[in-house]
């Protein structure tokens, strides 16, 4: 497959899948990460923290 370059995966694309996808099994200790609302809140918190950081840690390198 040559069409797609294997660039570094963007963190947001990864989080779409790792926080909202994947099989949810009840771990012994796992918090309710299955709760998407909680995840959204976490991400909102992240957005504000990102804006204060330079440079954006998930920006594509040139």
């Amino acid at each position: 497959m040559t069409v797609v370059e294997r660039r570094e995966i963007a963190l947001v694309d990864l989080l779409d899948r790792l926080l909202a996808g994947g099989v949810v099994v009840k771990g012994d200790i796992t918090l309710r990460i299955a709760d998407v609302d909680l995840v959204r809140i976490d991400l909102n918190a992240l957005i504000s923290s990102v804006n204060e950081q330079v440079p954006s840690p998930w920006g594509d390198s040139p």
Partner: protein
């Protein structure tokens, strides 16, 4: 105290070893734990990072979240090279190996069913962005130089076209996304919509209007990629991004209430 067991994925048994030097979350190498003919891929993580309280705080720590997500993905990626893993949600943790075995026993039937469903499939991500319309896009699209208006009427038309271009872009983007999604869904075995990504989080330019995942047989991947390439055209103001192939993350958790999947 030997630490906790972090579980990345459940797989059918696979022959090839994972690449050497692979390190998991918190740095420990992933290992296989076979039980009832299923393989859980696990590594040891320090307990103090994964108590409920710590985890809650860590999820809001960007550095921790980034490192953990990337380490998780690296292991899944390595597995994807040798099998079709069933990825688990981030931060699924057990006290010890026997906890992992109990989980496999309790969920064995469902795990097998989903594993069979995902065997030989990968996931592709397709995103559509609307960008700001370029100046004089109508002129350049028609292959004309932005020449002086031949008449006052032409001038007015051009002005009107320009101010309308922005609204048109949204309309076009919406139609384009619907069409693209219909075409790709018809090719793929299944599809899932993710929420549009926040530009502040993604750092991407333009507004994300479609964020979809498609389940495609590995063998058909090249054709799928070509299909996306063909469909994305060169519509002014609209950008299409393709990511993958991913392990079938977006299709791993939603088969529980869907017993009648046709094949």
């Amino acid at each position: 105290m030997s630490g906790l067991r972090y579980v990345y994925a459940v797989c059918h048994p696979y022959e090839s070893p994972l690449q050497r030097q692979l390190s998991g979350v918190s740095g420990a190498p992933p290992k296989r734990l076979t039980h009832h003919g299923l393989v859980a891929v696990v590594s040891t993580v320090p307990e103090h990072e994964f108590t409920e309280e710590a985890l809650r705080a860590n999820l809001e720590d960007l550095d921790w979240l980034t490192a953990t997500a990337r380490a998780h993905q690296q292991v899944i990626d390595a597995l994807t090279a040798v099998t079709s893993p069933l990825p688990l949600r981030l931060a699924t943790v057990f006290r010890d190996d026997s906890g992992v075995r109990s989980m496999i026993e309790a969920r064995e039937e469902e795990l097998r069913r989903v594993l069979d469903r995902l065997a030989g499939r990968v996931e592709w991500g397709v995103k559509v962005y609307v960008e700001k319309p370029p100046e004089s896009s109508d002129d350049s699209r028609a292959g004309r130089p932005p020449a002086k208006a031949a008449s006052g009427r032409d001038y007015l038309r051009r002005r009107r076209d320009q101010t309308r271009a922005h609204d048109d872009v949204w309309q076009r983007a919406s139609e384009f996304s619907d069409r693209l999604h219909a075409t790709l869904s018809a090719f793929a075995e299944d599809s899932r919509m993710h929420a549009p990504q926040n530009a502040a989080l993604s750092g991407a330019t333009g507004r994300n209007v479609l964020n979809a995942a498609y389940l495609v047989p590995r063998a058909d991947s090249e054709e799928f990629v070509e299909l996306v390439d063909r469909e994305k055209d060169d519509v002014p103001g609209i950008r299409v991004e393709l990511t993958g192939p991913w392990a079938a993350y977006s299709f791993a958790g939603e088969f529980s209430e869907d017993p009648g999947v046709e094949s």
